[in-house]
């Protein structure tokens, strides 16, 4: 039974355009549109949008797949062999220089932006999630540093050296194990005298090494780098100078800790 009287909602007009209406309702809407020219014009406009979008982008799927996107190639290079892209490179330079990062680690900016993005995004998510925890911010308390080092080294897959940030007034709250973009990640939390918290998120990385990169926000910020195939993200409150100090101290301690093979 076709209900020609039931009013047609905007959602239904869209579903009509997308062929998502059940057959009987579709028929009713067709009939209804014949008597409602304004709605019919809207439907026609929506259909034209669909056509324009397909005309603009549809042919991309018929293009041959570029060599650098073939899976065999990606598996060989681990995705590191990104073409040089003036735009991406310019963005990175603008980001780094424009940000005024006064100290840049050894090595040119390597690794893919995706590594930077994914690690930093996951680290910041973890930071935001756990930094507000009052009673259970960590799984293992900082007082059990030796046990934690042993445990997380085993799980994350390389020898952990938990930095000492007492000189900056930061006490180790503890750590936890987290899932990361490339496997297990270790997550350490430090706390300052006024309750400000900093975290280190570290895991194995795809890239051999990268420069230090800063990512700032209104409430949080992070510094990311890869050293000897290990990614580090130091996250903290938005005060950039302090974060850079903390990150630099961690960078130096990790660098000196003998984890580097060279």
């Amino acid at each position: 039974m076709i209900d020609r009287e039931r009013p047609v909602s905007d959602d239904e007009l869209n579903a009509y355009v997308d062929g998502e209406l059940p057959a009987d309702r579709r028929e009713a809407v067709t009939a209804w549109l014949a008597e409602h020219p304004e709605a019919a014009a809207t439907v026609a406009a929506y259909q034209a949008q669909t056509e324009s979008i397909r005309a603009e982008f549809g042919a991309v799927a018929d293009e041959p797949v570029p060599e650098h996107l073939k899976l065999d190639r990606l598996v060989q290079t681990g995705g590191g062999a990104r073409r040089f892209l003036p735009m991406a490179a310019a963005a990175l330079i603008a980001f780094t220089v424009g940000g005024g990062l006064g100290w840049i680690a050894h090595g040119a900016a390597g690794g893919t932006p995706s590594g930077f993005d994914t690690f930093t995004a996951e680290a910041l998510d973890a930071y935001k999630l756990y930094v507000v925890e009052v009673r259970h911010p960590v799984e293992v308390p900082g007082s059990e540093r030796a046990h934690m080092t042993q445990w997380l080294s085993k799980r994350v897959g390389y020898e952990q050296h938990i930095p000492d940030l007492q000189a900056l007034g930061l006490k180790l709250v503890g750590g936890r194990l987290l899932p990361g973009p490339t496997g297990a990640a270790a997550f350490y939390m430090y706390e300052g005298p006024s309750g400000e918290r900093y975290t280190i998120y570290c895991a194995k990385a795809g890239a051999p090494e990268t420069a230090l990169r800063y990512k700032g926000g209104e409430r949080y910020s992070a510094v990311y780098w890869v050293d000897d195939q290990r990614a580090y993200v130091v996250s903290g409150p938005a005060e950039r100078d302090q974060l850079e100090k903390v990150a630099k101290s961690i960078y130096e301690q990790v660098d000196k800790s003998g984890t580097r093979k060279s």
Partner: protein, 163 residues
């Protein structure tokens, strides 16, 4: 039966199309596809059946959000939560009307619309890809189309910035 890798490989043309429409820039799009493929190969153990294609769309959209966040912070630092795509209409906007209209949409609206009209996903599939109820998908589509229509009709919507 196709292996995981074969299934991923077969999806590359569609991923490139979706990425091109999302970014409206050929280089950014292929970078996004490359990152998506690398992530997918690395995360094979996280794929628990279903349509590989839809899983890849999800990864691609997430990576694109990250990319937009990074772009949005250039050159001045803005909030990490701020992933407003409209700001990017300038640097990335195509010269065609429909591309420019797409640039004015919110990320999730653009994603939903393109998945439906370009990639041919059902509402149900888009709901899965976006991890939202089907009603949310419908309202995203409705808002996207109204916005595009408004834009194409020449009434500059509030979101659009004068360059």
């Amino acid at each position: 039966m196709a292996t995981f890798r074969q299934s991923v490989e077969a999806t590359i043309p569609a991923l490139r199309r979706y990425a091109r429409a999302l970014t409206r820039n050929a280089d950014s799009a292929d970078d996004l596809v490359q990152d998506t493929l690398v992530r997918a190969l690395r995360s094979e153990h996280l794929f628990h059946g279903g349509e590989i294609r839809n899983w890849l769309y999800t990864i691609l959209a997430n990576l694109n959000r990250n990319r937009l966040r990074a772009l949005a912070r250039r050159p001045t630092l803005t909030s990490l939560e701020d992933n407003d795509a409209p700001d990017l209409a300038g640097p990335e906007g195509g010269h065609r009307d429909i591309a420019r209209a797409l640039a004015t949409l919110a990320d999730e609206q653009r994603e939903a619309l393109l998945l439906v009209v370009l990639e041919g996903l059902s509402y149900r599939e888009v709901a899965d890809v976006q991890g939202v109820p089907i009603g949310t998908v419908m309202s995203r589509l409705a808002r996207a189309r109204v916005q595009i229509k408004t834009y194409l009709d020449g009434e500059r919507p509030a979101l659009r910035r004068v360059k």
